[in-house]
């Protein structure tokens, strides 16, 4: 085989590899509807903090389709090891609770996770299912879930720590009152300097 022959052979092999490797992805795109990712993990959320993540709902059908988005508490038996059920699905909100997709289209949905600042939620791991529910087709309906795995930090987000504020205010008031009641002594002491 001469130099050009080798080149043609190499290009042919490269094209074959590209075709084979891209085939499953194309097949995956061509069917039904989908939610992605299948699983998302967020670690170290501070108490009182809000975190945004995006999930994508895709309609690969050749007709329009509508979905409702919701946060669900997973069954105990389905939890990932080390995770517990999210205590309150109100921690999760969607920017688009209703998604209406044209044929062969997709939409990004922003999910906001907010861990309350008050409560014993620090240093825990929670699982929540982010659910897309298709409109019913006769008797049939399909729901697809993204597993959301959350780990909270024991620390607070930078914000108002009311206990600390109260202590500071108390110290200032007491110190001010003491200074005011002893103002003459302080004046004398200051005069020496």
């Amino acid at each position: 085989m001469n130099g050009k022959g080798w080149l043609k052979w190499a290009i042919g092999v490269l094209l074959a590899i590209l075709t084979i490797s891209s085939a499953p992805a194309l097949a995956q795109e061509a069917e039904g509807w989908a939610i992605s990712p299948g699983e998302a993990r967020i670690d170290g959320i501070l108490l009182g903090e809000s975190v945004n993540l995006s999930i994508t709902v895709a309609n690969n059908k050749d007709s329009p389709l509508a979905f409702t988005m919701s946060a669900e508490i997973p069954p105990e038996s389905e939890l990932r090891p080390g995770y517990e059920q999210i205590p309150d699905t109100n921690w999760i909100t969607f920017d688009s609770p209703l998604v209406e997709l044209d044929a062969l289209s997709r939409q990004e949905v922003i999910v906001t996770v907010t861990i309350p600042a008050s409560g014993d939620w620090g240093g825990r791991s929670y699982e929540c299912w982010l659910r897309a529910t298709s409109e019913a087709m006769g008797m049939l309906q399909v729901e697809l879930d993204c597993r959301l795995l959350l780990s909270t930090s024991a620390a607070y987000a930078r914000g108002i720590d009311w206990i600390l504020v109260g202590v500071i205010a108390g110290v200032v008031v007491v110190a001010g009152a003491m200074a005011y009641s002893n103002r003459r002594a302080i004046k004398r002491w200051a005069g020496r300097w």
């Binding site: 939610i35 299948g38 975190v51 895709a58 729901e143 879930d145 108002i160």
Partner: protein, 167 residues
């Protein structure tokens, strides 16, 4: 002199409260997580996608065959659940067997998948279905042995929900 001192005290207390509040206002922010890497999509398809039963009657049985296909890039676990049938002033409760105003939906998965009754609580259906694999199953609706029956032009709506999550 006393008034001045009091004003100073109030001012100091106000500052002690206001400074952290101002700091909070400046620092309050939402963090956005961007995920990268291989994207896993959950994608199942039920064929046919639609099932409507026409001219439903009491004490009857209606069966349809389906195929569940996993187009996801990962294995999935599925559950199945049903609802009461309601509409036109009628209500059939979903129960384990047909009786007065109670109907039943059975599933039968081909092979070792098993069979059972669909309830209003999600129960395990096809488990550990691999990528690009499919499973045939049938659904059978058994209408109430007695009770209300929708007349001409009336309809009852019941829903069977198949749910999938990454295994």
């Amino acid at each position: 002199m006393k008034i001045k001192g009091l004003i100073l005290l109030v001012l100091a207390a106000t500052l002690a409260v206001a400074v952290p509040i101002a700091a909070q206002a400046a620092n309050d922010a939402t963090i956005t997580i961007t995920m990268s890497g291989p994207t896993v999509a959950i994608d199942i398809e039920v064929e046919p996608a639609e099932w409507s039963i026409e001219s439903v009657q009491l004490n009857s049985s209606y069966t349809k065959d389906f195929t569940l296909v996993n187009h996801s890039s990962v294995r999935v676990d599925t559950t199945i659940a049903g609802t009461d049938a309601e509409g036109s002033g009628h209500r059939w409760r979903l129960r384990g067997f047909p009786s007065n105003n109670a109907y039943e939906i059975e599933y039968d998965i081909e092979g070792p998948g098993g069979d059972g009754n669909i309830t209003t609580t999600p129960t395990d259906f096809v488990q550990d279905l691999a990528q690009d694999q499919s499973k045939n199953f049938s659904l059978t609706v058994k209408t109430p042995s007695s009770g209300d029956s929708p007349g001409g032009g009336e309809a009852l709506q019941a829903t069977v929900t198949i749910h999938a999550v990454q295994g």
